[in-house]
């Protein structure tokens, strides 16, 4: 009888596991992103309240599988004058409350710049985090491997983190000759060079990786079409 139960159980489990482990890309043209989940995500609408008390629409995409949780939260700041740097910084700061941030680094997805973090939770969880602010939307991605032995599932968290893509007119595929883009190098700047100069001033010396090896480079200010270099004073969101 026990054997029969085990056989029935395994017959039921095997196809479920096979389906559950199939990572697929899910695209959301509005607001404009694509991401991979190991199973169809649940989608919940909610409200996010900023530090200033402003209520903003929030959408949460989530999958819980085995002992991992994959979530992407998108907050719509389009009704505010929120600044990308300060919004990203505030989101990053919140992760220090729930755990220890072991890695925090500038990052790029398509033409958009943000931050990527690694967080070790007080409960022993390990999270790969990405924070971006694109087209007035704050994207907070968390791939969390739960304890015990969270490190054994940490690779999938990174896979989730690295799968985020932005699509559409701004911050999307075009410009760098990527998927559906406008051709290789037809417009835009070298994103690696931009990343190297993130937070730097004109004239600062920075190292730059090239296929021929690292080179010494200097940051210089370039006028970029359709780029807002200075914004009028605005109340915080």
């Amino acid at each position: 009888m026990k054997v029969m139960v085990a056989m029935l159980l395994s017959a039921w489990l095997v196809p479920v596991v096979a389906v559950a482990q199939e990572w697929k890309t899910y695209s959301y043209p509005d607001p404009g992103f694509a991401i991979q989940f190991p199973a169809p995500p649940s989608v919940e609408q909610n409200t996010f309240r900023t530090a200033a008390g402003v209520a903003l629409p929030m959408t949460r995409y989530a999958v819980r599988q085995d002992r991992s949780i994959y979530t992407l939260t998108v907050v719509d700041y389009s009704t505010t004058n929120a600044n990308d740097n300060s919004t990203i910084a505030a989101a990053e700061k919140s992760f220090g409350v729930s755990g220890k941030v072991t890695v925090a680094i500038d990052a790029r997805v398509n033409r958009s710049f943000g931050r990527e973090l690694s967080v070790t939770g007080t409960n022993g969880s390990r999270s790969a985090v990405a924070i971006f602010f694109v087209n007035k939307h704050l994207y907070t991605l968390v791939g969390e491997a739960l304890p015990p032995n969270a490190i054994e599932r940490s690779g999938d968290s990174i896979r989730f983190q690295e799968s985020l893509q932005f699509i559409g007119a701004n911050g999307g595929f075009g410009g760098f000759g990527g998927f559906g883009g406008g051709g290789r190098g037809r417009r835009g700047f070298n994103p690696q060079a931009q990343l190297a100069c993130l937070g730097k001033s004109a004239g600062d010396a920075v190292p730059l990786d090239t296929p021929a090896g690292p080179v010494a480079a200097t940051c210089t200010l370039i006028a970029r079409p359709n780029t807002q270099l200075a914004a009028p004073p605005a109340p915080p969101p």
């Binding site: 740097n85 680094i105 790029r108 390990r126 790969a128 940490s154 990527g178 690696q192 080179v215 370039i222």
Partner: protein, 128 residues
């Protein structure tokens, strides 16, 4: 937000474009100053966009298996580099050279993989 580019990079522009044209993200989480080698058995290989993935089960000294997730280039890049769906199969014994993740998680950016028949494939070009 101020945007900067690198004037010194201009002579390198073609090379720079070549390396980033297919890269949808910045690889910031990988420590590209470090190289690590692992050996194990392939669990799964996905030739997909924006990046291919190779999952390898690696045993530690006590025999405990851990899954490593290794990021590759995009499907078209890999195709030009000699990869196909039949390049590796589940169960293949492989040796992988990689740039590890900065936080020590089990994963990294694949530099090259040595297949059971001795063929070495890079993430972009054969033998890279």
């Amino acid at each position: 937000m101020k945007h900067f580019s690198i004037i010194s990079c201009l002579p390198w522009s073609l090379l720079c474009w070549a390396t980033t044209a297919g890269a949808h993200h910045s690889f910031a989480m990988f420590d590209r100053s470090k190289t690590q080698t692992i050996a194990g058995n392939v669990k799964e290989f996905e030739l997909i966009n924006p990046h291919g993935w190779l999952r390898v089960m690696v045993a530690d000294a006590s025999g405990v298996q851990s899954e490593w997730s290794l990021e590759l280039g995009g499907a078209s890049q890999l195709g030009r580099g000699g990869w196909s769906q039949d390049t590796v199969h589940a169960g293949d014994k492989v040796m992988v050279k990689l740039h590890p993740l900065r936080d020590g998680s089990y994963g990294g950016q694949l530099i090259s993989v040595t297949l059971p028949n001795g063929t070495v494939l890079g993430r972009r070009l054969p033998g890279a």
